[in-house]
């Protein structure tokens, strides 16, 4: 009884917050409602006895993905009124896409035929003494190992793509190379000099101005004839 009440509470909150994600005026509030929806989905997993999936959902989606969403949305300078402006114009298109998706879902699920013995399996999905964490691991790493690895490869490709798209060499940045710093010895960096009264460091020949590295001198001033740098500054 309590589980049923809990199910309806979590499901209702999840649907309400999902609706709030699209209807809320402030994008930051939208992301926060999205997080609430994730939490309720995790609670539904818990009710279904899938505690591993529930925790993974919270760790991956709430703990990492949504943080980055929030990060990006907070950094964007969004004009809220402008955001709402296109609503009238785009609403029919959105509704049409939604209707097509709904029709497809109805067709797919309506035409779904269960094998006759599957209902019994659904009620006893796994042996009692194996927890669902171990059961998922057993399946993922044996029967579905290739699909699992391919999913990992897809993510790797996406990651490499993101790095390639955003990576740029910044010549103007000063880099810290800890190996070089650690390799320095007092003998090559320190000199003890007895300085007579009134003598300047340049007259003694111990004035070593910091010499700019040759590649720095060849570079044009940022933004002058290097449009690449200039556009980056603008961002």
């Amino acid at each position: 009884m309590i589980a049923t009440i809990a199910f309806y509470v979590f499901a209702a909150v999840m649907l309400a917050s999902a609706a709030a994600v699209v209807s809320s005026r402030n994008p930051v509030h939208s992301v926060l409602f999205l997080i609430l929806a994730f939490f309720n989905a995790a609670a539904l997993f818990l009710l279904a006895g899938a505690e591993f999936l529930a925790m993974i959902l919270v760790i991956v989606y709430v703990g990492a993905v949504a943080v980055l969403f929030l990060f990006v949305v907070m950094m964007l300078d969004v004009n809220f009124d402008q955001l709402r402006g296109g609503l009238q114009r785009y609403a029919p298109v959105g509704a049409a896409v939604g209707a097509v998706l709904l029709a497809e879902l109805v067709l797919v699920i309506g035409g779904w035929r269960f094998a006759p013995d599957v209902a019994a399996l659904r009620l006893a999905p796994r042996p009692e003494q194996i927890s669902n964490t171990a059961a998922i691991g057993d399946l993922l790493y044996t029967r579905y190992i290739f699909l699992f690895q391919i999913a990992g490869l897809v993510l790797l490709v996406a990651m490499i793509g993101a790095i390639v798209l955003t990576h740029r060499e910044r010549h103007e940045a000063r880099r810290q190379d800890i190996r070089i710093q650690n390799a320095r010895t007092p003998a090559e960096t320190l000199a003890l000099v007895r300085v007579p009264l009134g003598a300047g460091i340049s007259t003694l020949g111990i004035y070593h101005p910091v010499v700019a590295e040759p590649e720095d001198t060849e570079l044009a001033p940022p933004g002058f004839d290097n449009p690449d740098l200039h556009t980056h500054e603008a961002h």
Partner: protein, 339 residues
């Protein structure tokens, strides 16, 4: 009486009592940790520290609490009121609810769940929300910078914490925190997994925004970071949440690497002391290291922090994970856990 606790109402009462049994000592410890930190820092800097309120300044915690309660809660103009007040509550609540799964002695956990360590990891990865929401809702550039710094920092160090946890799990064969401690009966994991122990502890410093990784506060650059606009009890909740998080990270270190409630050697003079004292003692020792580090190291620069997280800890923990797996398979020590 035992029958009463099996009725639905009795179970509710029991749950509340169990929660109080862990939260009240925790909050007392947190209150005294704030005094202890000032005392430890003072001793390390040859000062006296708080010594006026009560004998040896021991009532300082209550004086501070009284002061915080009396002060005015200021909400800046242009702040998002609801989220501004919500953020410290999130920080404080998350620091408290994680304690539901911490076993302080054999089986002494409010909830002895199968996926205890995942729960712990999930809760600690949520801690960033309080900070980032506070930073944004304050409508202040310093607070916002602090929030952004903290978001990037905590997400980065979670990755290596995750790998460290996985390599511990490989040696245990269970996600249950009780099983993790019991797997250390013969040797604490800080010995065979020593590099992971170090990586975990340093990442714990970064995860709790403690010195030398306290860039989200960064008082020399961004005033007080994410909580610059907070005053009175809203500030106190952040402050208490931070210390409760430190206790949580100390408890995680104790459970994962220092044998939880187990005595160092399973022989009579050590086994006479109840496990809960060993647990609290180890947690307090970890807390002392937190304070010691604060008194010792200067703050990292932000690029150094990112370099340490992504270019040192991540490859190191990944490599050690593979090494652990290979050693376990080659020696046939893979635990045959069913959990």
């Amino acid at each position: 009486m035992a029958g009463f606790f099996r009725t639905p109402f009795g179970m509710l009462i029991l749950m509340v009592l169990e929660a109080l049994a862990i939260l009240v000592p925790l909050l007392l410890l947190v209150a005294y940790a704030t005094v202890a930190e000032r005392k430890v820092l003072a001793a390390m800097q040859l000062r006296k520290g708080p010594n006026v309120v009560g004998p040896w300044g021991l009532l300082q915690a209550f004086a501070d609490a009284g002061k915080m309660l009396m002060k005015e809660t200021i909400i800046p103009t242009g702040a998002n009121r609801l989220l501004f007040l919500f953020a410290p509550m999130v920080t404080f609540t998350l620091a408290m609810i994680a304690w539901a799964v911490i076993p302080v002695d054999n089986g002494w956990a409010v909830a002895d769940v199968n996926v205890g360590i995942l729960y712990l990891f999930a809760i600690s990865s949520l801690g960033v929300y309080g900070i980032i929401i506070a930073g944004w809702a304050s409508n202040s550039k310093y607070a916002f910078l602090g929030g952004l710094r903290s978001a990037a920092q905590m997400v980065s160090y979670e990755v290596s914490i995750g790998f460290v946890m996985v390599s511990v799990l490989l040696c245990v064969g269970s996600l249950n925190l009780n099983d993790i401690v019991l797997a250390q009966r013969h040797v604490w994991f800080c010995i065979p997994l020593f590099p992971m122990f170090i990586v975990f502890f340093i990442s714990a410093l970064a995860e709790t925004n403690r010195s030398p990784f306290d860039l989200p506060e960064g008082e020399s650059e961004i005033v007080a970071g994410f909580f610059v606009e907070y005053s009175a009890m809203t500030f106190a909740l952040f402050f208490l949440g931070e210390y409760a998080n430190m206790f949580l990270m100390s408890a995680s270190t104790t459970i994962l690497f220092l044998g939880g409630w187990l005595p160092p050697v399973g022989l009579p003079p050590f086994t006479w002391i109840p496990g809960v004292f060993w647990f609290v003692g180890k947690v307090l020792a970890c807390m002392f290291v937190f304070m010691w580090v604060r008194a010792t190291f200067p703050r990292f620069r932000y690029d150094q922090l990112m370099r340490l997280g992504w270019k040192v800890f991540l490859p190191l923990s990944l490599l050690w994970l593979v090494v652990t797996a290979v050693v376990l398979v080659l020696t046939g020590w893979v635990p045959q856990g069913t959990a």
